[in-house]
């Protein structure tokens, strides 16, 4: 192999050049490795953060899905439940009168000492010879359970004088104690439960009277302050559902329609430029500002009710609109011009071209944008606080005009509850439900997109 025929002087210059390059190579490669290492570090950090966040939520929230239940035998003692017979509707009695009579009877039932019934049931369940005072006995069981006994009785007055097995929720404090979410070594004065209750709880757990069961009531109950162990997400869930329905019913048609107008029909001039800038900005306006708009415009000016899903839904609709408009426009823009020209060439009008040919092609894009927008709206919290949806509501809203909570607002409420030991887990569980819903929505978006794109 022959080497370059270049003269000796050039070769020397080449050699000098190469020497200089070689001299800095080690340093340059080190810099390269450091830079790349920083990149890897950044990626690993980001992944680790995702991992930590999910680990925190799941490890804290997972235990809340099982809860201590106490299987008691309840004696509907006629001496304690000293009430008249349940009223029967007389012939010719008006609706209102019968209702009043019935209510009076129920009031009487409510006034019975249900605590005593519960207390007796706990005592019966305790091992023989176990000494326990009334307060300690009652502290074992969730306070709301006495209302459940009352409801059982109201529904079936024949229970009087009978012994019935009833599975009751243990109180939040009992649950804490048994799960160890409270430090079991703290001295008596700093424990929530008396020594007697703690000892009884331990013994009942051992003999199987207390057992951990899946806490379905997280999904079926409404929020409760007096009976934290029975607090559930049903009300918040329905509130969120209403809002999402409103968002879907309003934001999707309006968003798609305005995207179509702006992309296909609007003349390109100063005004449409301004609208474009305006929509892009709207997408970046802080969510809390939309909350202020809701409070001032919808509640104050239009007189819509506070804390109602209708207002929340409208506010979230306005927030979601820009997302849907922007995404729809970009999928409209992605439709090849050849398709439009083909349609117009066949004599279709512009409207026909858009609705018969262009829109069906963009359906997957619009659908994905919609679902992502809805998922975003589902998790939005700040504007809901401004329009009062963080109010405590212990009922399932019957219509979107009733007071209601929403999932993220419920999370906000629960994280602020004083019974930290219990509600940290409850909050995490609620977060898990919310994240699962959002994940499911996103998964649906991905699946639908794939199916529609394959079909198209």
């Amino acid at each position: 192999m022959t080497i370059s025929s270049s003269g000796p002087s050039t070769s020397a210059a080449d050699e000098a050049k190469r020497a200089r390059i070689r001299a800095s190579l080690a340093r340059r490669h080190l810099t390269e490795r450091i830079f790349k290492g920083l990149g890897v570090a950044a990626v690993v950090t980001a992944l680790a953060l995702v991992g930590t966040l999910f680990w925190m939520v799941i490890s804290k929230g997972y235990p809340a899905f099982t809860q201590a239940n106490v299987a008691l035998e309840v004696y509907f003692d006629p001496e304690i439940i000293d009430v008249d017979a349940a009223p029967v509707r007389a012939a010719g009695q008006s609706d209102a009168d019968f209702r009043a009579q019935n209510l009076a009877w129920q009031r009487q039932v409510t006034l019975a000492n249900w605590n005593a019934i519960v207390e007796q049931a706990v005592r019966d369940a305790a091992p023989a010879g176990f000494e326990i005072d009334a307060r300690s006995a009652l502290a074992l069981v969730e306070t709301g359970e006495r209302h459940r006994l009352r409801d059982l009785f109201v529904a079936n007055p024949a229970l009087l004088g009978q012994r019935v097995p009833v599975e009751m929720l243990a109180s939040a404090n009992t649950d804490n104690w048994l799960k160890g979410t409270i430090n079991r070594d703290l001295e008596d004065s700093r424990q929530q439960l008396s020594a007697q209750t703690r000892a009884l709880a331990d013994q009942l757990l051992e003999n199987g009277t207390i057992s951990f069961k899946f806490a379905w009531h997280i999904f079926t109950n409404v929020d409760s302050r007096s009976a934290p162990a029975s607090a559930g997400l049903a009300g918040a869930f329905v509130g969120s559902l209403y809002m999402m329905l409103i968002v879907i019913l309003l934001a999707v048609p309006i968003g798609v329609a305005s995207a179509i107008y702006l992309e296909e029909f609007a003349p390109k001039n100063r005004w449409t430029d301004l609208i474009e800038v305006n929509i892009n900005n709207l997408a970046a306006v802080p969510s809390i500002v939309f909350g202020l708009l809701g409070a001032a415009a919808f509640i104050q000016y239009f007189g819509l009710p506070r804390s109602a899903p209708i207002v929340g839904g409208l506010v979230l609709t306005l927030m979601t609109l820009p997302t849907i408009i922007i995404a729809t426009r970009s999928s409209l823009r992605a439709v090849p011009p050849s398709l439009r020209q083909a349609a117009l060439g066949l004599g279709a009008s512009k409207t026909q071209m858009v609705f018969h040919h262009v829109l069906p092609v963009t359906l997957p894009g619009i659908l994905t944008a919609t679902i992502i927008g809805v998922a975003q709206a589902l998790g939005e919290t700040a504007p809901l606080l401004i329009i009062g949806m963080n109010a405590f509501v212990a009922s399932i809203p019957a219509t979107p005009f009733d007071q209601a909570s929403a999932l993220p607002a419920q999370i906000y409420l629960w994280q602020g509850n004083e019974n930290r030991n219990f509600f940290e887990a409850r909050t995490s569980a609620a977060i898990m439900v919310l994240l699962a819903l959002m994940l499911a929505l996103n998964a649906i978006a991905v699946l639908l997109r794939r199916r529609l794109e394959r079909r198209g």
Binding site: M1, T2, I3, S4, S5, S6, A13, D14, K17, R18, R20, I21, R22, A23, S24, L25, R28, H29
Partner: protein, 275 residues
């Protein structure tokens, strides 16, 4: 055939008086080079010798593998995910795909000019000084200035831009931008200069200027140029290689290839029968 010979013969840049291509030592030597992109093979067993201080042109229809082969020489194919190169390419007898070879150093020795002018969004000065600076070839501003001025002069651009060296390079015309890129490439004083269709984005006048420049640069550099224009190959090169469907069909003195091709495919291409 005679008609064709007449069409090209006048254009061919003759070698120096009394010197044939075989007098030029071989600078680059490729043996059995194959390139795969993923499962697809783009280049089949290419073997060719590239002479020193002469212009070698690769011609062929688009997608024939000529650019792919060019990018093997300075290992630019490394930057494409899934690209795999086998075979041997030696620069001065050193295998460029050898593990011990530093690709940074290789690319300092083998410069490249691309199809579309791609000046960095920096000043003209910074564009040219970029290579010498990263390679530590200049130690101070004076040295940098010297390199910049001499490179711009060699690229024939200095007179046009000497008053606006600190204005952005992206503000120049297309032809000027491409000459800036050539100046940038020769500023690191490479031994080999690869040009990937350097005139395809330029108008005829700018093309003529660049072709003239290539002819001048031949004095100091080993130049390999990929072109889709046969006329250009005939005008600027001394050696021509014809690629088709990933294979090297024929190579030889430019004059020979155009006037007396040995293979039918080459003939067809030159006659315009393969696009």
């Amino acid at each position: 055939m005679d008609m064709m010979a007449g069409k090209f013969a006048a254009n061919v840049t003759p070698l120096e008086e009394g010197m044939s291509l075989s007098d030029h030592p071989i600078r680059l030597e490729a043996r059995d080079v194959c390139v795969h992109y993923g499962a697809k093979q783009a280049l089949y067993d290419v073997s060719i010798d590239i002479p020193d201080r002469a212009v070698t042109a690769f011609i062929g229809p688009s997608g024939c593998g000529k650019s792919t082969f060019l990018r093997c020489i300075n290992r630019m194919n490394d930057t494409i995910e899934g690209a795999r190169v086998t075979g041997r390419i030696a620069l001065d007898g050193e295998d460029v795909y050898d593990r011990s070879l530093d690709v940074v150093e290789l690319r300092a020795r083998v410069g490249m000019v691309f199809q579309k002018p791609n000046p960095f969004p920096k000043s003209i000065f910074e564009n040219v000084a970029y290579g010498p600076k990263i390679h530590g070839m200049v130690r101070n501003k004076a040295e940098a200035e010297e390199v910049v001025v001499s490179s711009l002069k060699r690229a024939g651009l200095f007179e046009e831009v000497k008053d606006r060296l600190h204005e952005p390079g992206t503000g120049l015309s297309g032809g000027q931008q491409q000459r800036l890129c050539i100046a940038r490439a020769i500023a690191t004083r490479p031994e080999v200069l690869l040009m990937d269709e350097p005139c395809s984005a330029l108008d005829p006048i700018a093309t003529a200027i660049i072709e003239e420049l290539i002819d001048e640069l031949r004095e100091n550099f080993t130049i390999v140029i990929v072109t889709h224009s046969m006329q250009q190959a005939a005008r600027v090169s001394q050696k021509t290689a014809f690629f088709h469907l990933g294979k090297l069909i024929e190579e030889g003195d430019t004059a020979n290839i155009f006037t007396n091709p040995a293979k039918k495919q080459t003939q067809d291409y030159i006659m315009g029968r393969i696009g």
